[in-house]
């Protein structure tokens, strides 16, 4: 199978994730969309690794996963404490700016 197709899929996933981050208000969903974008990148890395015939992309993909795991821990903790204090998981409600 042509590895370029994986790149198309990665681009599609990334776009879906980006759109979710920009559009959705629920922090959990935004968070999941961020994960989706990260995984789209991983997919692209792996596909490039395959296309170029070396392992650099795969190694980067592992790094990304580690970072994503750490990010999930911190991010979920933030979301939980945010929910506790505001009784809502909406990212818009977290704004304290005066307009």
């Amino acid at each position: 199978m042509n590895p370029v197709n994986y790149l198309y899929l990665a681009a599609l996933l990334f776009t879906i994730g980006a759109a979710g981050v920009l559009i959705r208000r629920n922090a959990i969903v935004v968070f999941m969309c961020v994960e989706l974008m990260l995984n789209a990148c991983n997919l692209a890395f792996v596909a490039f690794s395959r296309m170029h015939g070396n392992l650099d992309g795969q190694i980067i993909a592992f790094f990304t996963m580690v970072v994503a795991a750490a990010e999930v821990v911190v991010g979920l903790a933030i979301i939980v404490s945010l929910f506790r204090s505001r009784h809502s998981a909406s990212v818009d409600d977290a704004s304290l700016m005066k307009l």
Partner: protein, 655 residues
Amino acid sequence: MENLIALLVAAPLLGAAVLLCGGRRLDRVGHWIGTALAAASFVLGLVLFGAMLGYDVEARTMRQHLYTWVPVEGFQGDIAFQLDQLSMTFVLLITGVGTLIHLYSIGYMEHDERRRRFFGYLNLFLAAMLLLVVADNYLLLYFGWEGVGLASYLLIGFWQHKPSAATAAKKAFIVNRVGDIGLSIAIMLMFTTFGTFAFGPVLGAAGDATEGKMTAIGLMLLLAACGKSAQVPLQSWLGDAMEGPTPVSALIHAATMVTAGVYLITRSGAIFNAAPDAQTAVVVVGAVTLLFGAIVGCAKDDIKKALAGSTMSQIGYMILAAGLGPIGYAFAIMHLVTHGFFKAGLFLGAGSVMHGMNDEVDMRKYGGLRKYMPVTFVTFGLGYLAIIGFPGLSGFFSKDKIIEAAFASGGTQGWILGTVTLLGAGITAYYMTRVMILTFFGEKRWQPAPDPDKAASVEPGIEVTPGAVSDHAADASGPHPHESPKSMTIPMIVLAFGSVFAGGFFSIGDRFVNWLEPVTQFEHPHPPISVPVITGMTVVVLLAGVAIAYLQYGRGPVPVVAPRGSLLTRAARRDLLQDDFNHVVLVRGGEHLTRSLVYVDHTLVDGVVNGTAASVGGLSGRLRKLQNGYARSYAVSMFGGTAILIAATLLMRAV
């Protein structure tokens, strides 16, 4: 001997310091200290004069270098004195007349509780004026010049509790400031042209500099002289300066202050000789002021203001003569000296009259005072004859010389100036006769005091003790004219002697002119018509003036309330509208100028500043909206930025 010059200035300065800093414990002796130090300065002046006469004519200039005031490379300001014949003349006039006025003030200011302070100021005035005339450079002269301005301010406003006096003092100070700007600019120009302020180098090199520069310096010096000597257009302060005590008026008008302008022009003769245009301006100013002052003097009912007008007019004669160049300098100074005698005498006489008349100054409320104040009458009368130029008296000799010099200045100018000076002599005779008749002749127009005992005690011939005077002054029920105490009459008598004999003494063998010649140079005037004819015309004009005044005031009763008068009279009563002119042109003009400047400031300057601030504020207000606190909007900018960066990278790579 030369080291004594500094003491000349130091003596009155010491007096001023002691009297002004000494406090109340000097109240009882302060006036004697002040008078003694003024007299000391006069004696010192006489000693120096004697020494000077002993020297050769060419080597009479004495110099003393005290110390270097501003020791900067290329900018040498010295405290150094130069006493030549011109300075000597002024020193003797200032200290001599000044001492007499001090003496007079002892009696005049007897009831003033601030008499000590008054004498301190008088001494300060003398010191500043002496510094002005013995300075050997323009910078030090400027110092004295400003000192004179300060002292005149303090003295004119001496009775500061009167708003009119306070205003007059401020007016004199401010108008003088305008002239002072001229002097400071002239000094700056001298420095840029010659690199020095000292009289010797500046005046020595005046002929070599360009005429344009000399004209500029000359005109600026003329502006300065106009301020101090009350010449048109800066004459307006002089009339109001009469608010000061009368001895101050005498001092300002006779010995100090107004003579400073004449001194400045005569001293700077070399500059004016090199700038004919500036000389013409000087002559025009002198001629205009001469008539201006005379016309004002004709209309005033206030005895002091009439005399003030006459001062303006006489100083106009001197400025005119000084503007004629070497044919006039010596005559200007000669008239200045004789004027010093008779004008001081006239003012002291006026003060004596006021002293006896409860400080009434309106001549229409005098009349017939010759019986009550014989000494004042005689001394004032001699001063009167001197100022109108009655043949044989001081004014005759000095004024006649100026008229001759005016005729001799050549061409049309000579005829115009000659006519103006002749006319001025006639008007002088008219208004002084008017003052004389209104004050001393005719019916008495004042209401005598009701108490017959007191009226009896002031019969002429009975000597009035100072104690008796204080009784009278304490009683304000009405005037009871009496002769003034000896301390007042003696200076008047001395000055009357000067008024009578000084002119003749100076004229014998042209000794005054010869005395000044090494400093001012001298060219013998050659008028187009012979001298006896001019003298004859002067006398005729003078008698005509006297006759007109007699016909107008001497024959019938004088109304106590001034009649409405002609348009010219009414204008002259208001000083020929000088204040109105200043008000309309300068005050109103200034107001309009400031108002329009404020408008420009509000609209244009503030507009730019406020506009900048508002646009920055508006912009930042809009930029602030970007920081809305929504995580997704930040995410948009992040995505957008990343997209742009990537696009840019790709684009660069493609190119």
